[in-house]
């Protein structure tokens, strides 16, 4: 009875950590970025070698405990001393060899994380409490644009991310694509990612940064070069002017309320930089760093009461009338 119960308990304990391995939404074992692939190979190699070593050590230990001490001490074998010395030297040499191999392998793997050629696409990633500001900088200054929380990149190209924290330390981590890299105020860091398969990869801030740290997610969307170019061209455009009366009223509300002091909508007078660029907010999949899918309803819910949805975040509750709220959310949803 007790044995059955403890068996069940043990298997439950094994299953719980294993469930963490399933699914490819955000996993360092399900890899599609070149950096993450080499890191995964490194992890597997190290775990495999260490398991073998651990097993050998255990076998040696058990064997030592097993041997009959008395028999040994009464009749000392000739040459035993020498054999023991050889065994110890062998173990030391093996240890040195294994550790130096690990060192070289991890050096090679980490070096692969930072190589970047000259014509790479560069994205400045800024970490803020609690969202990600993105600035695409091309060789041509007219090609630069701002967006937030959603990084689009072309498949099969190196993309250089310049990381910097603007308030506290954050950490950029998209487990399927690359290792972690911190965003430190006043000290720019770099990370190069290269994705081999089109898809959507989730990432998260990996350095505790305050109240809403858990709600500071981002998406990396890898797509074929043509799709990426189409996306970038669209993002570079200024916001589409409102076409219907409701959206026009929404724009007026946006400009006369505090919204415009914190948010930029390119092509209008709104030029604040405290919050995310909203020029094409309707084209992004999520709002508020992965809290909601972007729909008109979720935009309205967010604007109506950001402090209940994400307590402590830096967007205040701006009192609006129901009509203003309806108009503003219609306008923002139309910003594709």
């Amino acid at each position: 009875m007790i044995r059955a119960a403890s068996k069940a308990g043990l298997s439950a304990m094994l299953v719980v950590p294993l469930t963490g391995c399933g699914g490819n939404w955000q996993s360092a074992l399900d890899v599609y970025g070149s950096a993450a692939i080499s890191l995964k190979h490194l992890i597997i190699l190290i775990v495999a070698v260490c398991s073998v070593v651990w097993m050998l050590v255990m076998i040696a230990l058990i064997a030592a405990l097993w041997r009959n001490r008395d028999a040994r001490s009464s009749s000392p074998e000739p040459g035993r001393e020498r054999r023991m010395t050889m065994a110890v030297i062998g173990a030391v040499v093996a240890t040195v060899l294994i550790i130096s191999t690990f060192t070289v392998m991890s050096f090679i793997a980490t070096r692969a994380l930072t190589v970047a050629s000259q014509d790479d696409l560069t994205v400045r990633v800024r970490g803020l409490q609690w969202w990600w500001g993105l600035e695409y900088v091309g060789p041509d200054p007219s090609h630069r644009f701002e967006t937030a929380n959603e990084i689009h990149i072309p498949v099969g190209r190196n993309v250089r991310l310049q990381l910097e924290g603007l308030d506290v330390i954050h950490s950029f981590w998209v487990p399927s694509l690359a290792g972690k890299q911190d965003l430190v105020p006043g000290r720019p860091n770099e990370l190069t990612i290269r994705v081999e398969r089109a898809g959507v990869y989730r990432g998260q801030c990996a350095e505790f940064c305050g109240m809403q740290h858990a709600h500071m997610a981002l998406l990396v969307i890898a797509e074929p070069q043509e799709d990426f170019d189409k996306w970038a061209t669209a993002q570079r455009q200024v916001a589409t002017p409102p076409t219907d009366e409701e959206a026009a009223a929404g724009l007026r509300t946006f400009l006369t309320k505090p919204c415009a002091a914190c948010h930029t909508v390119r092509g209008t007078a709104a030029a604040g930089t405290t919050g995310p660029d909203l020029t094409h907010v309707g084209s992004r999949r999520t709002i508020a760093s992965g809290m909601f899918e972007t729909t008109r309803g979720s935009l309205a819910a967010w604007i109506a009461d950001p402090q209940t949805i994400k307590p402590g975040n830096n967007m205040p509750l701006v009192p609006l009338t129901p009509d203003e709220l309806r108009a503003v959310s219609a306008y923002l949803a139309s910003l594709k």
């Binding site: 505090p258 002091a261 405290t274 009461d305 402090q307 307590p311 830096n314």
Partner: protein, 185 residues
């Protein structure tokens, strides 16, 4: 035994954390906006609800820290520097053209002042204006207080707010340049 209990009680008291008011109900925000100003818009009284809430914008460190962030975010530095002043007056010297009360500072920010202070009432929420006013008052505070905003991340160009009383730095100060500015402090 009693000693242990007292120790335990003291330890538990440490769990008590300062309340953070993250979300101001719109009716409360409305009420907080209704300050009573003197006719010359200098001095006056905050609304009743301000005292009912326990003077949250002077005694609460979270609000003061938020005010400090707003000070940078809304560009006050471009005219008032880090408190030393620039094209706008200094806050560090303890001289207030429009009086040292919190309501006067609130009114200066919300409605602007005639000689070059822009109004921020349409750019910020009532909650934020109060937070900012509370913070601005600490820059030139007359005495040290228990609540203080967080430390600077950048190099500190002046004494820490609310800790070293700015009084130490008070000088003769400017006399009002314009007739409609308030009494000298």
């Amino acid at each position: 035994m009693a000693g242990v209990l007292i120790g335990l009680a003291a330890a538990l008291a440490g769990c008590q954390r300062e309340e953070r008011q993250l979300r101001l109900d719109p009716p409360v925000a409305d009420a907080l906006d209704k300050i009573a100003l003197m006719p010359n818009r200098i001095g006056g009284a905050p609304p009743e609800v301000y005292f009912k809430l326990g003077k949250p914008y002077e005694a609460n460190a979270y609000n003061l820290s938020q005010g400090k962030r707003l000070y940078t975010w809304f560009g006050c530095k471009s005219c008032h520097g880090d408190g030393q002043g620039g094209s706008g007056p200094a806050f560090l010297d303890g001289w207030w053209y429009y009086g040292p009360e919190l309501v006067s500072i609130f009114a200066s920010i919300r409605d602007g002042r005639p000689h070059g202070m822009p109004m921020f009432g349409d750019k910020m929420t009532t909650d934020q204006i109060w937070q900012l006013a509370g913070y601005v008052q600490t820059i030139g505070s007359y005495e040290g207080q228990t609540a203080a905003p967080s430390r600077n991340d950048e190099k500190q160009a002046r004494p820490a707010e609310n800790r070293a009383p700015a009084k130490l730095l008070f000088d003769e100060g400017p006399s009002p340049v314009h007739l409609d500015q308030g009494p000298t402090p």
